[in-house]
Structure formats: C-alpha cells, structure tokens
Subunit: 292 residues, 6 copies
C-alpha cells in the first residue's frame, strides 16, 4: 500500500488534534508595489526545509520534541485583497477556536491584517510587536487602503494608540515617521529597547501578536525580498530578539516577505527556514542560555 505525497515543514508532522502550534500559509502578493514574488514564500520554506536539521544547537532542542501541524497553503484569489483577507481571517479564527496557536507564513505583509482581525476578536487588548525595515504606516498607497505599505496603519485602526511596538524600522516617508511619533512606539534601525519592552509585556501579561517581516534582516544575509533595505540586523541579532520577545505572552505570530525567486543562491529561503525553526522552538518553551 502506497501513500500520497505529504509535504510539511520539517519536523511538523503532528496530527492536528495533538498540535499546539498550527502553521498556515498565505501565498498572496497582489499589492506588492515594487518586486512581487512573496507568494512563493510559504511553499519554498516548506520545500527547502528538508535541507535543515530539526535540532537547534542554539536552543538545545529539537522540533520533533514538540507537536506542530502544518496545514499547507490557503488558495487565495489574486487581485482581490478583501477576499484574500477574509479567507486568512477565517483560517486564523478556526485555529484560535480550536485552542491552538496560529502561525501564519506570508506572502506579502498585508496578510498580517487577516490574522490580526481574528486575533482582536479573541483578544481585544492585543498588542503587536513588529520587526520590519519599513514602517508600513501609510494611510493609503496610490489610493489603496489595503496595501502592504499600510498594514500596520490598518492594525492601528483596530487596536489604537500605544499598542504597536516597532523595531528595526529604517524606511518610510516622512509622514509615517511623524505618525509613529504620535501613535506607535517606534525603535529605528535595530532592536534597542526590546528587552525593556518585553519586561513590561511580561509584567502586564497582555496578549501579544508577533509579526516578523524578514526584510528587517540586512540584505547581505536576506536579499530575497521585495524591497531590500541596506542597514539591517544580522541573523544572530534576530535570533536573540526572537528568544527575548517570546518570553512575553505571545498568542499568535507570522513570518512574511520571503520572495524566494529573487535570491537564486537559495540562502534567503534557507535562512527563513532556520528563523522559523528557532521561532517554533522559542514559542514552545523558554530555553535558557542562548550561546552566542
């Protein structure tokens, strides 16, 4: 008896029933203004993960120690953002309803809005921690309210002032930085301030959504993204940030903006896979002794 070909992120072969974390992919990039290709991100992460070990020497833990389920990619309608966001929200709500942790793989950053809409219904006091090169705070982009360049602004519409915490930001127009000064907590260029914020989030026990735009990484280690911005953080800095922030009460997360075909060396995809492995392990429990 032969079985059909199942393809999941490496080491994520729990049953849905047993799983504590559920991966779901949103291969959408219709509003990307510069270079499209993030639609290919989740499939590439899943496919190339077979070049990765399940064991992390950084956290001395193994993906196979945990119960993680990979539900594959949603089939989204290119060209209709509202329809795509509805499908994402619905999937996130289902996972939340079943008492599991939803971990979204983008796609362009707009997909975060679908997940956040579902999160806010369950957690009205949600905070968002946002790692990104771009502020994503425009009110509209060439007339579109639903654009990857506006996604944190739309989140702000939902959760209001003082609850969005931004790190690594190094690109935006002047009005976005002015908006941030008034309405969000923005840390430019790197992770300065993250440890202090995490302490506050831990103390208050508020629910936190973590959204990671992989272009927070420097283009030297992550060129495969739509709008690369020189001057970013290193892989080890991101790793440390993930291990820091996951001490807070994270209730949902996403990883987005890998555009794998833009980097033919495959390094960007391999790096995204490793970030996901470390994120999954860090979310599952807080490991002591980061060894770098």
């Amino acid at each position: 008896m032969l079985y059909p070909n199942v393809e999941t992120f490496i080491g994520c072969d729990s049953s849905y029933r047993a799983a504590s974390i559920v991966l779901y992919g949103a291969p959408y990039d219709s509003t990307t203004s510069y270079r499209p290709g993030a639609r290919f991100g989740p499939a590439a992460i899943r496919h190339e993960s077979y070049g990765l070990e399940t064991y992390s020497p950084y956290q001395n833990a193994d993906l196979t120690d945990f119960d993680i389920f990979d539900s594959g990619d949603l089939e989204l309608c290119f060209g209709s953002s509202e329809s795509a966001l509805a499908d994402i929200q619905s999937r996130a709500a289902e996972i939340l309803h079943d008492g599991k942790f939803p971990l979204l793989l983008g796609g362009e950053h707009l997909v975060t809005l679908g997940a956040v809409r579902a999160m806010v219904e369950k957690y009205p006091d949600l905070h968002i921690v946002h790692f990104d090169a771009h502020a994503d705070l425009r009110d509209d982009y060439l007339g579109a309210k639903l654009s990857h360049a506006c996604v944190l602004r739309r989140c702000h519409d939902l959760i209001g002032d003082g609850r969005i915490h931004q790190f690594c930001i190094r690109s935006g127009d002047r009005t976005e930085f002015e908006f941030a000064a008034a309405h969000t907590e923005m840390h430019k260029f790197d992770f300065t301030g993250l440890a202090q914020l995490t302490e506050q989030l831990c103390a208050s026990k508020v629910p936190v959504y973590l959204t990671i735009d992989l272009d927070c990484l420097d283009p030297s280690c992550f060129p495969g993204t739509g709008t690369p911005e020189a001057g970013g953080v290193s892989f080890l800095q991101l790793l440390e940030a993930i291990r820091t922030v996951t001490k807070a009460n994270i209730v949902g997360a996403d990883l987005n903006e890998l555009a794998p075909t833009l980097d033919t060396t495959g390094v960007s995809t391999a790096t995204a896979c490793k970030v996901l492995r470390e994120l999954l392990i860090a979310l599952d429990k807080g490991w002591p002794g980061f060894q770098v």
Copy 2:
C-alpha cells in the same frame, strides 16, 4: 543648458501633437495567478530598445520615417483591478479623442479590458483579433471576475458573439474551449485561418482591435512570460501574422505579458522590442514583399 533624461521606445520621438500612434504603458500584474512580473514589461521594452535598430529589413522601412509618441507608463494602483482599469480606459479615451491610434504595452493581459472599454465607446461594432496561448475565457478565476484568465470573456460581455477571433490557443480548461465553440471564432495552435479572416475583415471594413499576448510565441524564443506554454509559433510566423492582419482596419492594439526578469538572457525583451518595431511599421502602412 542641460536637459532632463527622456526615455522612449527607440525612434518614437515625435511630439504628441504630430503623432499618429501613441504608446502608453500599463505596468500591472496583480491578478497574475502563476508567476508575476509582467508589470516590468513596458519599462523593459522601452529601456532595452536602444539595442535595436530603427530600420526593419523585413519591411524595408524605418521607425524614424513615422510619427510615433511614447507617453510612458501610467501609475497604477496595485491590488485594485477596477481602479487600474479605469485609469487605462481614461488614457485610451484621451488618445482616441485626439484622433490618434492608442497602442498599449502591458502588463498582464487584463489591461486589455481597460483599452477595449474605451474602444467600444467609440466603435460599437468593434471586432477583436486575439493572438494568445491561452483562451482567457473563464467566467471567473477563484471568484474574481477581473482576472487575466477572464479578460476575453469580459470583452465578450461587451461585444457579444462572433466578434472575437482567437489564434494560437493551446491552453485552457475544457469549459473555455466549449464556450469558444459556441461564442467566439477560435483557431487552435497557430495562425491557420488568419488570411481568410483578414479578407473578410477588409471586405466589411469593420473596426478591429488587435491584442497580442506574447505567450503565443513558443517558449524557446520567448521564455520570459508568466505562463509559458510549449508548442507555440515562431517569431517569423508572428511577424507574418502581424503583416497580414494589419491590412484590416485596425483602430487600436496592445502587446502584453512580457515578464522580463523571468528571462535573464534578455532575449524575450529583445524579441518583444522587435515585435513592437515591426507592429508599429506594419500599422503605419502596408508594406509589400515580406521577404522570408
């Protein structure tokens, strides 16, 4: 005194006032379902045209003999097809109003709908000649009515049965071929029937819109497109088809679906440039003696 940097398709440096043909680009590909990148097509054609001669040995004529104006690219809103189509329609209408011939450079094939909407207002009895690998006759694609896979179906909504003439079609789902059997004139695989059709179009003097999806070409000579389909026509066959059909009363045209970054050799872009040169010359007047 120095002048700003003007970039047009080679040899298209007439003033707008004097021009008989006006180029306009629509860098849009948000509904592309498989591989995006057609947004980069019109700029690539314009930029790489400096590697082309203005003289055509096939038609013994030179682009500089004619009055052609290149108005550059529209700034379109990614992620909102209706908004993008409105901008395209408006530009086409302006060109038509000024008594000039609008020649649209896509972008994905959906952009054709914007132009056809403007054409139909001026020419209610419009026919469409369609060169393409794909039927593009779906009623919707994953729920979207405005998709590159539906564009000829939307044109059919506007102009009705028996006025769409399709050539080179070699891909589609079964229902599209069934729709074509009932509502359009479809020629599969190549240009068989084009000479006869042209005679009829010439005799009836009806206004004709010519839409060329460059993926009608075989992927061996044109790999740089979103959905390449083996088994297409050669460059010389396309050239002959253009010289044939332009004997009819062509009142508008477009060239689309070059996705230049998908072909790093640059051959697809160079070929698109040459197709555009030959199309411009053939439109301007009917040259005798195709020499292949």
Copy 3:
C-alpha cells in the same frame, strides 16, 4: 478540522486502490558526469504542475477523467547506486504486483535500470523504446558499470539483442555507435522509423517499456538538463511520437533528466509537466485526431 498538505502532480488525486497508473519519483543523480541537478526533477514537476491545465486540447481529454495516483519520491541514498537501484526496483515491483502501471520520474537516466529490473521479472520478453540524445551504451564510464552513460548497455545485459529501439540519438563515442549497429536498433537524430516500429510492436503484442530522456528535445525548448545537445526534436515532434508509440502494449514508462535549476526561466520544468500530462493521457487510452 484541518488536513496536512498533500502535494501531487496536478489532477492525480485518485486513491491508490482505484488508480490504474502510479507515479513514483527517484531523485537521484550521483553518477551524472557533467552537470548534476536531475535529483530536483520529480519534485519540480510535481510542484510546478499547478501552473498547468489538466485539460489537453491536443487529445481533447482531461487528467481528471482518469485514475492516477502520485506516491511521491523515494528517499534514496546519494553516493550508492546499487542501493538506490534496489529501492527503485522494489517500488516498481510493488506497483506491478498490485496490477498497476508504474510511471517513474527521474532523476538521472540510471534510475531506469531499477525499473527495468522489476519489469523484466514480470515480462521476460520485454522490449524497450528509448528516446534520448545520448546512446547510453558504454560498457563502463571511468570504471563505473552503473552510470547514466551505461544504462541502456546494462538493460541490454538483461534483455539482449534486437529488443532495444533507440530514437533521436545524436551523441556518444564511436564505440557506442558501433555497439548499436550490432546489438540495438538505433535511429539517429529524430523519430524516423517510429511509426513502422510501432506497427510491428502492435502486431507482435510484446510488452514494451518506454524510457524518455527529456534531452531528446532540442535545448532551445529544453535547456534544463545535465548535458544539452543541439540538434534535437521539437515539443510537437515528441508529442506526436508519444501518441504514436502508446498504441503499442506499453507496460511501464519513465521520464527523466529534467534538471530544473539549470533553467531559471522555468520553461524546461513547464515543458516536462506538459509532456507528462500528454503521456498520462496517451497511456490511458488512444485518442484519435492529433490536431497539429
């Protein structure tokens, strides 16, 4: 309730029990002497098939009309050909034992030997029809008896003179052509003689194994292969050859030597997908009226 991510060749979603044809992949290329990468072939064909329609306008049939099962890829040991061949033979034998048709996706051409070993056990009077740019008739290659350059010679060891029928051959050393003159039926350069051979095979009703090295195609339409050889056949010629030879009593088949990363345009993979679709349909039944 969510389901794990199943990835098959498009339209091949029958159950194993119901299936008449079973796909199995052999991602192996350790003996490739020039440019490796065929190991990535079967996964690429499966993954990129979502850009393909299930309907064939050439054969007016649809993959979804048939019962085909995709069992995914074997996990083979790189660097040990004997071990890899044993695993392939075992899988082929299991499929044959269950009364189904085994269709192998390579991988380098050596994988054919694993399948043929299983076929010969069931069909001692097996003939092989071989489409390839290369003779693959060396007795050894740099000392190795198990090499992609020797695979038809090893098949000859198993089935003997006059039962290997080669087409499109345009590369080899002089001794291979001399061996062919004495021991196989070789047709150089193209498919001349295939119709006549098929008539003989049909008349004798002998069981036939069909092995297609995709480098029989011209590099213009199929550059993504380890050793491209100028002067090959076109996609339409291959399509016609497939529709011709499948009138014989084909009992097993393979498609190999796609090295997808060597062709960054993706055209080679898209073409391999279409060849596989047409092969599956042609194998399932003999359709009249090839329309080119």
Copy 4:
C-alpha cells in the same frame, strides 16, 4: 495633452536653472579588465530608484527638500578611452561653469579622470578623497595608461604628492602599495583616520573631490561589481564616512563601479541608490545626530 517619459533619479526633478547639484552619468567600462558591466550602472540606479523613499531616517531629511537635477547619461564611444574622457570632462566643465556641483555616476572608475581634469582647471589646489578596495595606482595596465587600474595614478600625475587620501584599500600589487607609501596617504582596509583627515581638510578649507568606488563595500552587501574583494566595510560604515567627509569643502564627487547585472538579486543596485540618496543629502547640508 500627454508628455514624454522623463526618467530621473527619484526626487531629482528640479529645473537645471534652479539646481545646486547636477547628476550626470558615464556608462563606460571598456578598460575593465575582469568582469565588465559597470556601463549599466547609472541607468540602473536611475531606474531602480523608484523602489526607494526620498526621505532619509538617518539624516531626517528628504531629497525633495533640495534642488537636484539629473541630466541623464552621456553617449560615450566604447573602445576609445580618450574620446570618452573628453566628453566627460566637457560635461563636468559645463556644470562647474554654471556654478553647480557636478556629481558623476560611473561606469568604471576610469571615468573619474574626466571629471578630475575639469575640477583641476577650476581648483588647482584640489585634494582627492578616495574610497575603494583597490589602490588604482598602476602606471599602466598591460600597456594601457588609461585603465581603471591606473586612474588614481593619472590623478596623481595631475595634482602631485600628498593630495590623494585613500581609504579601505585592500587589493593591489606590491608596487602600488610602495607607490602609495611614497606619494599618497593610504589607509588600508577601513576608514581609520578619516575623522582626523576631515578636520585637517576643514581647517585648511582646500577644495576636495570625493570619489567613491562602491567596491569599498564588502561583497556581502555589494556583490554587483566587477572585482569584488572580501573584507570590506559595511553599508553603515560607509554612511558614517560620507557624513564625516562631507563636512569638508567638497566641490565635486562621483559614485562608480556598480555592475548591476552581476547581482540578480537587485540588492547592489538598491544599495547604490541608498548611498546616492544619503550622499546627496549629506552634500546639501550637514545634518546633526547620525542615529546608528
């Protein structure tokens, strides 16, 4: 009324009359000895700049606050260095004559010589600050006096000892390092010494020409250049160096050796665009509070 397609570096849309800084491109690379392609640099910087914001969070300033004019590329004769240099010199002289700041975009590094010839006529006491991986101090290269490998040596011919200040140098033959020890001020490997030099230049108020070979950057962040040299500086180090040296009396500048097609990720071009944005802002005025 439609307008022709004007393409400038983003935010550089002043009139020539109003402009204080004038960009001019020199798409020349005929003497490049290893890997050509720098000829495509200026057009790529201009074209890809639309993916960049005009606002700099590093300097809290916006390109649109300033008056900058982009005069496009010179049409240079490939294969004749003397002729190309004459055209560059003439353009630089015209800009200087009109009381504006000439900012040259290369091209290979030899183009600097054309600009320096014009600068020296106006500023006989010119100093040159040189950021580069290579010493460029050969007296000839395979017999050619006019080669990118000799360009600073030719500048030394014009301005003499002690007036060339070199930074980041990590490649050259032994004689070049010996020449530097006797005739220039060379700082190997990084920007050590730049702050001190700048103080001296400020104190003396001498006119300074700044020439930036982008290969001073490490290949990890800037692979798209003819001769990449491991061990370079980071983007943030270069940014800081630019903000330091622009406190001196800079009277002309250039940015060269981007070879965009060598880096298909597009990161090198995006980085060059950002370096140019920061350079333009830093030149326009000295902003306090660099925030990294």
Copy 5:
C-alpha cells in the same frame, strides 16, 4: 612526477609541430556597444568542451583522428583596439608562416580584423564568407572606426568590392543595407545562395576566409550573445552551411560573439563547442553523407 594543468579544447592535444590547425583565442570585447561578455567566450568553449564527445555522428569522424593544437588565449589590452588587433595579427601571421591553418576564437567580432590583416598579406586575392545577424558595415560607430559594428567595412577597405559574401543578415541601419547593395554580396535572413556561391568559389579556387558570428543562430538556440536578433537560423542549418562552404578553399576562419555568462543555462556555450567540433572536422576533410 606530477604535471601542470593543461587545458585545451577537447581532443586538440596534438603538438604544435604536428598540427595542421591551430586554435588561438582573442578574449576582447571593449568596443561591444550593447552587452559585453564575449571576452569570456574562448575560455568557456575550452573549459566546457569536456561535456562534449570528440566523435561526430553527423560526419562520422572523431576530433582525435586529426592533428589540432590549442595555443590558448592571447593576453590583450582592454581599452586599446589598435593594440589588441596588432597582437591578433601577429599571432595569425606566425601560424600562417608556419604553414598551419589559423582558427581564431573571439571575443567580439572586431577581432576578425586582426586575422584578416594577416590573411591578406599572404593571400592578396582573399574572399570572405560572413555568417552573421548583423551587417557590420558601418563606416564608424559613435566616432570609432574600430568597432564590432564596422568590422566588415574595415575588411572591405582591405579587399574591396565583390569579395565579401554575407549570409543570415537581419539587422543594421538603412545605410548598411545600401552599402551592401553596392559593394558586397548580401543574402538576408538565411543561407539561400550559399550552395551556388560555394560552387563558384570552388571553381575559381580563390582563398577564402570564413568568419562566423554565432549570433547568426536564432536566439532560441543561442541566447548567450551580446545582441541577440530574433529570426535566425537553426543549429542544423548552420551545420549544413559549414559542411557546404568548407568544400571551398578555406585558408583561415574564426568563430566569435559567444558571451557565455549571458546564458546561465550553459546551452549557448555547449552549442558553440559543438559548432567548433563540426567546423574542425569539416575543415579537415570533406565528409560525404550529411544525415539530417
């Protein structure tokens, strides 16, 4: 005892003394106006030839049957055409003086002029047979008399009217076609007329130089060249043309304009290798029975 690493075109390992044909490479492309890279041609042909068989099934002959010597590449001065041409002429003259057949590997097409200067000294009544997409008949290109776009014009300066025979030409400005009508024998688009010309050349026994610009091939099979031109001949057509024209009294030859890095599939280089193998065999003797 170990030996140093010798790298020649496959099968060309005769001693210089014994050789009848001598290969020499001219890695020069400084005057290339569009896309450089032909400088890498000869080394790529030599290096990648190990993927080729020495045996030709087309001519039933083997490179190892002949005495061919590969002298490697000249070290030419980039940026000085006159100097490079002098070195090429000197090498060609030396080979001619030693009574051997010089076969030059370019490089851009300008290198032909160096060889032709040497040929004309020995054979004042030289004819040139020229396979190319481009007329190469400009009197100057942006002021340069020595440019790849002028090379046949410079040859005409040397040998005069009626002795240049051009085939496959499909690009040029109008004046070049007018010059050809008056001064050369030009066959547009393909090899029509070659058989007839060869008969005349055989009858008159004049010495003939054969210059093959590989861009005569269609870009579908040869994209790796500086200025690809759609509408060219196939590999098999070129093969037949080579076997036809080599019946004449060929006294020298060249193969040029492979730019290997422009085609990352490697197909262009592999095709150039095969063209060279077939040319070497055809030159060595006239084999009967071309089998396509």
Copy 6:
C-alpha cells in the same frame, strides 16, 4: 613556436621539483545530499584566480615569493566513493612521499577522508583541526558510511578520541553533538578557543591536518555552497583563524565545499580564491602583524 594552454592557480607556477606546496583538486560531490555542485569548485578557483592579485596586503607577502605547484584535478569516478577516495589517497601519498605539502581542493567534504588516510600512514599521531558549519559526525547517512555528513566520523575511526578539534559548528542532529561531547573537542559557532588550542599544538609539536569547509563562513559572504547555514563567521575572522592555526605544525590541508554555480555573482569563488591565497602564504611562513 607556440605552447599549449596551461592553467594554474595564480602565482603557482613553480616546477614540481622545486615546489614546497602542491595543489591537487578532487572534483567530486556524489554524496552531497542537498545541493550538488562542489565538483566545480577546484576548476572555478583556478580559473577565476586571474581576477586576484598575487600580493596580500594582510600579510605583506606575495604568492610569487614562494614555490607552489598546481597539479590540476584528478579524474574521479562519479558514483563510486571508494574508488574516488582511493585515487585521492594515492595522489596525497605521492606528494607526501616526495617530501612536499599536499593541499587538496574539494569537492565535497568527503574528499578529506582520502587525504587523511594518506596522512595517517605517514603521521600516526595526526591531529585534525576542522573549520565547518556542520559537525559531519554521523555514523551513516541514509545507510551510507561514506558520505560528506560522516567524514569526520570516519576520520575519528582512524585517529580516535581527543584528536579532532572542531570550530564554528552550528548544524547537526542531536546525536552528533552528543558524540562530539564524548569524543572530539567541539567549539560551537565561532573560533573561540582556537588561540589556546594552537598554543597546545605548538607546544606538543604534533602533526596537524587542517580541513576547512568554506561553509564555516556566513552565507552573506559565501552563499555558493551546498548547505548554507546562517550565523557563520566573517571573512576577516577566518583570515585571523588561518593565521593563528598555521603557527602549529601543519603537515597537510584542504579547502572544500565551494559550489560556484550556486552563486552567480561570483563572490563566493572570488572569496575562496582569496582564502586560498592567504592560506598558502600563511603556510609558507608565519608573518607578523595581521593588520585588521
């Protein structure tokens, strides 16, 4: 008189007799489990070295000051690891027998085993210093004992506990890290501990074999390798490590796992060339004053 084309690593043109260091290449990668291509490493290093200077400003020394011989690549049998290892061992033994230093260029890391087998025969008390991202300590990989993932484990079979010293390790399965804890001296992530180890090795004067897997470098500066692992060391850190460890009694060395075609920018190959230059100089004598 013309000479055949000799191609060596730049500056390595000593005679074999006079040489103290002998380079030999092992273009083998049949057991590579993820992405093949290391077979192309040694030829690429040799070919691209002409873009490198022979002079090192880091060590103020020149390759031409030393006597180094490049014996080219072995012709190895793809698909048979035991046969390939025997050929490598034999070549290493010959070089050792002649009293010279063998420096092996891989190829995949398995090739090290061939060299170590020869080294151990001559130096039974051999230690191994190992720079790598991967532990390479599996007992078998999918059943194969001879795999690149097992190579240090096979070395351990030969030399036993406490004599393998590993640095930069950041990937492996859990059992490999457990094996290392018991049997080797492993330093995770970077070169911490190398200076101290070197002192011990110097004091004991034991013979040391140095094996450098270039994937110890961060993928940002070295993407061209089969299994890139984020979080590696920089070029300057590797340079310093090489200059440190070469103070010990190094008796043999290798450099492996460059897969040049995976990095189309060429930076990985250029970096490998520079690492080899610095390694050769550092091995030849211990230079004071590393200047970074």
